[in-house]
Every structure is written in C-alpha cells, then in structure tokens.
C-alpha cells in the first residue's frame, strides 16, 4: 500500500512540474471567466446556460488532460523510460498500475476541483445580478453532484487509457484508441436511439448486439447531471435512480477495467 501511495505521490508531483498542465489550467480558467461575456447573446434561462458553459469547460479541460498528459504519463515506449526505472525497483506491476492511476486521479481532481471552485464562485457571484425570471434556481448540492458525475466520467476514461496502454505500446496509438473509445461511447447511444425511433429498419439480433456493446462502451450521458443544477428537484429525490444507479454502474466499470489492466500488465512482457 505504501508503495502505491509513494508512486502516486511521484506521479502527482511530476504532473505539477509540467508546464503543459499549468498552461491547460490557466487557459481553462480564462475560458471560464471570460466566457461569461457570451451570455449577452441569450435572453432567458441564463442560469442553465452559465452552468452548461462551466461544466463543458471542465469536461473539455479534463479530456485534454487525459488525452495529452495522462496518456504521456502512462504510455510506455522507447521515449519513456520511466516504467523501466520504476519496475526495476521492488514494486509490482499491479502496484505500478494502481499507483499511477491514483496519482493521475488526484492530479485530475485537484485540477478539476480548482476549475469547479472558480465556476461555483463565479455562478454565485453572477446570480444576484439577474432577476429571478432569468436565473431562478441554483443549488450548490446539485452542482457538487453534477461535478462528481463529471469526475466519474473522466475517471472512467482514465482507467480505459490505462487499459489500452497495458496492451498497446506508444503514446500516440494509445491516444487515438482512447479517442476512438470516447467516440464509440458517444455514438452508440445515438445509434440505439435511432433504431428505437425506427428511423432505420432493425432486427432483434442487431438491437441485442448494440445492447451488448453498451456493456463495454457505456453511455456516459447518465452521469450528465448538469440539468439538475438549475432544477427544482429535491436532493433526496435526485439521489436515487438518478445518482446511485449510474454512479454505482460506472464505479464498478472502473474497478473492472483497472483489474483487467493489472492482469494484462502482470502477464505482459514489457521489454
């Protein structure tokens, strides 16, 4: 356990030393703050639009972090000798996987926490400036739950990145595969919805196949809880099917993916 925490600490500190991460953080913060000026184009529902905007910035920043930094940190190829030097020490491959993921998760959560905090402060500062008809409702607890939903999406992507890098050598291929995975996850629900609406002819086997694929490529929209931030839904009603089920489902998915990564790393020749 100590070795996992030690490696996670190294990974975390390594990330803090990277200028690219700070640059991404700075740009995301600038977008969050300056993007508020675009609200002038809208006449109604400003609360919803501001929340959509802030969460979209956080999601984009998280995705860029995963695709352009986490992949580099995880991937093992000729340019990145870190894995060789780490595994030369008395640390098992499973501990390596868990330590790296933990370190990157903490770094991501700190990064997203900063963005989320600034977004929350900004929304709470802006809300009193509007009359109730333009920004009627805002709930901090719903905001927090929506933020957690977003972090779970990013954590799932991070664990899939780890899984892909356990099987594939090279940062660029891992990045492409992660992007392809994300596109499939967003495209599959669209295809299933089209079949449900009978826009194209369908068979039972096709629908079953798509349903089966959804086990491996989950629909992350169930964790998109942005709407709840400006809804009147009571928090206890929300933490039911809206929260517990999707959080539980994706949580278990992350554990399974990480377990699979550990298994592949354990049995894979890294030379």
């Amino acid at each position: 356990m100590n070795r996992i925490f030690a490696l996670s600490r190294i990974t975390f500190l390594n990330g803090l030393r990277r200028n690219a991460v700070w640059g991404l953080c700075l740009f995301a913060l600038l977008f969050e703050v300056c993007g508020i000026f675009f609200m002038d184009f809208f006449g109604r529902g400003l609360g919803r639009i501001i929340c959509d905007f802030q969460f979209s910035i956080m999601w984009t920043a998280g995705m860029l972090f995963i695709l352009f930094y986490a992949v580099q940190a995880i991937a093992w190829d000729d340019d990145h000798k870190a894995i060789d030097s780490i595994l030369a020490r008395p640390i098992s491959r499973v501990e390596y996987v868990l330590g790296t993921v933990l370190g990157l998760t903490i770094l991501l959560l700190c990064f997203e926490g900063l963005l989320g905090g600034i977004a929350l402060i900004q929304i709470m500062w802006v809300k009193p400036m509007f009359t109730e008809s333009y920004f009627p409702i805002f709930s901090t607890s719903h905001f927090l739950i929506a933020w957690l939903g977003l972090q779970l999406i990013l954590l799932a992507l991070l664990s899939v990145t780890m899984l892909i890098s356990s099987a594939i050598r090279g940062a660029f291929p891992v990045m492409l595969m992660t992007l392809a995975y994300a596109l499939i996850c967003s495209g599959l629900p669209v295809v299933r919805e089209s079949l449900k609406q009978k826009e194209v002819p369908t068979t039972q086997s096709l629908e079953s196949m798509l349903q089966g694929l959804s086990l491996f490529f989950p629909d992350f929209s169930m964790l998109d809880l942005k709407d709840a931030v400006v809804s009147q839904e009571n928090i206890s009603e929300m933490i039911g099917m809206s929260v517990c089920l999707p959080f539980g489902l994706i949580g278990v998915y992350v554990v399974i993916v990480l377990a699979l990564s550990c298994f592949i790393y354990q049995h894979r020749d890294i030379v």
Binding site: R48, P189, S221
Partner: protein, 275 residues
C-alpha cells in the same frame, strides 16, 4: 545593409496592413450567409454527449449573430436557418431562447417556415408544459399565418389553463373558435369562464358576448335543420327565413355573421388579418 533591415520589414508590415484593410472592406460588402449545420446525429456524436448543450448554445450564438445582421431572406438562407433551429431543439430542448428566437425569425417567411416553427414550438411545449408563451406563439402562428382559427383556439385555451392570470386567453380562444365556425365550443368555454368570474365590468362584457354566441348557435342549428330537411346547404342565411327562423337574429355592434358553404362564422367586426 542597415537600410535593408529597416525598409524591408517596414514594407512587409505596411503591405500586410494594406491587405488587411482591403479584406475588411470586402467582408463588409459581402453578403452574410449562414453555413449549414452538420446533421443532428453527427453533432451528437461529435459533442460526446456531455457537450450537446454547449454545441446547441454555440449554434444559437451563430444564429443570433446571423439574424442580427441584414441577411438576405432567400430560400437558401431560410432553409439553413430552419435547419439550425431544428438541430438546436434536438440537442438542447431545455434552452428556452430557441423557442423565442424561432418565433421571431421563422414564421414571417412563408407557410413552410411557419410549420417548422410550430414543430419546434410543439417540442418546446413537451419540454416546458406550463410555459404559457409557447402555446401562445403556436396559436398565434396558426391563426395569423395559417388561417386556422380553430386550431389556434385549442392552443390558446390550453394556455389559459396554466394560471389564473392567463384566463383572458380563454376569451380570445372563444373568439377564435367562433371565427372558425366552432361556435358551440366557444360558447361552452365562455359560459364556463363567466360562471367562475367575480362580478364586474369584465363579467358584464362576457354576458353580452354570450348573448351573441347564443344567437349564432340558433342560426347554426337552423342551418343544420335546413340541411337535414333539404339535403343541401342553404345558399344564404336569408333562405332560412321563414322556414327555420323567424328572422336572422340581430347581433351587437361587436360581431357579425359570415357564411360560406354551410358553415357559419361569428366574427368580430373590422378585425383584420395578414393577407
């Protein structure tokens, strides 16, 4: 040598600024066109689900800038504009601004666009079932642009039930019902409103309207009896006298009868409509 290091960059910069100014002047003269939006399903995939709302909001800003400019209202631009509104509605139906912007930009351009606007407003009503503006806009479109007062009345009647302060929409709905020949429905609703109102000037006005509606209903029943007896529609209302009616009832100064091929309409005098 030194002159070259001064003059060459200076000429380059001046050349660049000149070209920039020419480009700026040209862009002011150029027609403003709206580039088509990608198909909705493609946008949904590219938006990675989480960004659907953001994509819709970006499209909205694009549309807002375009409709704010002096754009050419030709079929090409309007088709692309309608396509944008449909895409936004599919991506982010909870964005209220779409419905208001649709109503301001589309219906005035022809029946096709009114129908598209109504389609968008109908999906808005599903998302916001108690938002009074949406059935009001849709009803207005049916009456003003599509000349379907009965359909308009149905929507305005629905809007009047949302809150007490919108009850007056029910009166407007009854007027449109009568205009469209649906006198029975208009009268029933008006009587219902009258019964629930408190005493006052408004209640007196409604009482006068009810009298006119009842007279119109008498004439309508007479037309139905005439049709039943003679198996044809009366050529005019005067044909009903004296077999079905003693005389054509006299209406108040507010209303007048209109008759066309068996259908009786009760219209507000001097009410104008978009031709």
């Amino acid at each position: 040598m030194t002159w070259r290091f001064v003059f060459v960059p200076l000429f380059l910069v001046m050349g660049y600024v000149q070209l920039f100014l020419v480009q700026e002047k040209q862009s002011m003269v150029q027609e403003v066109n709206l580039t088509p939006a990608l198909p909705t399903q493609v946008l949904k995939v590219l938006a990675h689900t989480y960004m659907e709302q953001m994509v819709a909001e970006i499209l909205f800003i694009k549309v807002a800038v375009f409709t704010g400019s002096g754009y050419q209202r030709d079929e090409k631009n309007l088709d692309v504009l309608a396509n944008h509104f449909l895409a936004m509605t599919a991506l982010h139906p909870k964005l209220e601004d779409i419905y208001y912007r649709t109503e301001s930009a589309l219906p005035d351009n022809g029946k096709n666009y009114v129908q598209i606007a109504n389609q968008i407003l109908e999906s808005g009503r599903k998302t916001y079932p108690t938002q009074v503006a949406l059935p009001y806009f849709e009803g207005f479109n049916y009456y003003y642009y599509l000349d379907e007062p009965v359909k308009a009345a149905e929507l305005l009647r629905l809007a009047s039930t949302y809150d007490e302060k919108y009850q007056w929409l029910g009166h407007l709905a009854s007027t449109l019902d009568a205009r469209g020949g649906n006198i029975r429905v208009g009268l029933t609703w008006l009587k219902g409103m009258y019964a629930s109102m408190q005493e006052g000037d408004e209640k007196e006005r409604y009482a006068k309207d009810i009298k006119d509606y009842e007279k119109a209903l008498q004439v309508q029943l007479a037309l139905e009896r005439f049709k039943h007896k003679t198996s044809r529609h009366a050529k005019s209302l005067s044909e009903l006298v004296p077999s079905e009616l003693i005389g054509i009832p006299e209406l108040s100064a507010k209303f007048e009868f209109a008759y066309d091929a068996g259908k009786l309409f009760l219209r507000v005098k001097n009410s104008r409509k978009k031709s």
